[in-house]
Symmetry: C2
Subunit: 269 residues, 2 copies
DNA sequence: CTTGTCAAAATGTCAGACATTTATTAATCT
DNA sequence: AGATTAATAAATGTCTGACATTTTGACAAG
């Protein structure tokens, strides 16, 4: 009748059962299910496992399962109807801007490539504008955060062992830009950066070893953003931020050609 | 000891008890509480009513109350801790990008002015960029939506009885721009428009009767955005979209002076 | 072939008891 | 008297079982 969603949960239960002892109960279960969903365990339109199956397979009470599924429902990942069951919703309906979703997404290796492209396309169009706002509104504390993150990136560059730490500083740098805009809405969008940056670093890891100059170059461009914001030069900050993202944008085929991408005065040096 | 949050709920229960018979149970209760919160019923840091008090005052089961409070928790409006109770979180922590929050906010008359300014400042910086993207990515269906919304705005202009309908078409127009960008993230931000536009129309209602020319002028500017997007002229769409928002931005003191706000080539005429 | 009714399955809801955390108050020891 | 500890109360979190509601499919009657 229904597809083999539930039985297949039984078979692959091994990979899902080894969760860190007991964290937040429902919270941990929601994270687990969401990450399995993002990893491609089920596709939009598929039937999601039934409550009782999850109760049995994870040996938790129905309450925990219901709370976890409530989180997935609230974030638009699944839809539940009375006597029918739960189905995975279309990607268009996922609340990508919910901090929970961003948190769940971080570190998923097999994220849908088109999803990464969508998120990065957003960043590519938004972050330059935010950098301009940041140059206008930044306060000393913001500049300190930016400087600290940049120094952290410098300290962890070229060290293959500290790649995760470097990524963390990278996230912190971009997040500091959003915070420096001093706008409630832009600020909350900083959450969206984490999965995107992590995924990009993971995927560019292969390429970077071939071309080699990528890392230093990226570092220099970040430095130029920091310098422009410190100098309170909005226009320079905007184009510098665009330069930071441009190469990755080209690789992801988001910007058609590197020539006439954005006719801003400062764009053609 | 604790402030008078709970007792005052008793006294003013009259204004909250007349809810449309019974809609979605917990869903309706969450909406009710959220709107009361947005209307200034409690301020950040205040104690939120206890579960049992809400159960008693609204004559609903504890389950309903817990589900409603779970929604408020998930959207960052309140924070609940084990034996302490629930407190209202700072505005910075509210998930303004959650569709639920936008929905709850629409139509609140006494919204915090600074919150409206923050949301509009975001729109003022973002929407021009989105308009540029829309000009590049719009498909026939998108143009149809834009055209339909614009016609709707024209048909309901200058008719004082159809102000709500005009606002609805206004929302549809701007939402169509975001959808036309064909980017998952930008698209989901369309939800953020509704409370902002409604609030602005309500607040500008007094001013418009004095200056009079505001409405026709706004209509013409919207038309210029539509025309630029149809013409696939990204630069023109960007500046036209900025023009739509500029006057309101000036009134809200978001853009410092009307002269050197954004040095884009098409910006001077 | 259509329609009506019944039964099974799944989610939604309720009520009560119990567990856990937090804060206050009282008691005890130095 | 002051500080530390123990008991108590209040609030939220959790579990369990039963019941309600909705959906779907099967089966029989027309």
């Amino acid at each position: 009748m229904s597809d083999k969603a539930a039985p297949s949960t039984e078979t692959r239960t091994t990979s899902l059962n080894n969760l860190p002892p007991h964290q937040g109960g429902a919270e941990a279960l929601a994270r687990l299910l969401a990450r399995a969903l993002f990893a491609g365990r089920w596709r939009p339109g598929d039937d999601f496992p039934k409550e009782m199956d999850l109760c049995h397979h994870f040996a938790v009470s129905r309450n925990q399962v219901r709370n976890a599924l409530a989180s997935l429902t609230a974030t638009g990942l699944i839809e539940r109807t009375a006597g029918r069951g739960s189905v995975v919703r279309m990607v268009d309906d996922w609340h990508l801007l919910d901090p929970l979703v961003s948190d769940w997404m971080t570190g998923i290796e097999s994220l849908d490539a088109s999803l990464i492209r969508e998120i990065f396309a957003f960043r590519y169009s938004a972050e330059p504008v935010v950098a301009r706002l940041a140059a206008d509104a930044a306060e000393p504390a913001d500049l300190d955060r930016l400087e600290a993150a940049y120094q952290g990136m410098c300290a962890t560059a070229d060290k293959p062992g500290a790649r995760d730490l470097h990524a963390e500083h990278d996230v912190a740098f971009h997040d500091a830009i959003y915070r420096a805009s001093h706008n409630l809405v832009w600020r909350q969008m900083g959450h969206l950066l984490r999965p995107s940056i992590i995924a990009l670093i993971q995927s560019s890891q292969a390429r970077v070893s071939g071309e080699h100059e990528g890392l230093d170059d990226s570092l220099a461009r970040h430095g130029r953003v920091l310098e422009a914001i410190t100098r309170r030069d909005g226009a320079a900050a905007e184009s510098a931020a665009r330069e930071v993202l441009r190469r990755t944008a080209i690789d992801l085929a988001i910007v058609p050609t590197p020539s006439h991408s954005h006719p801003t005065p400062e764009d053609s040096p």
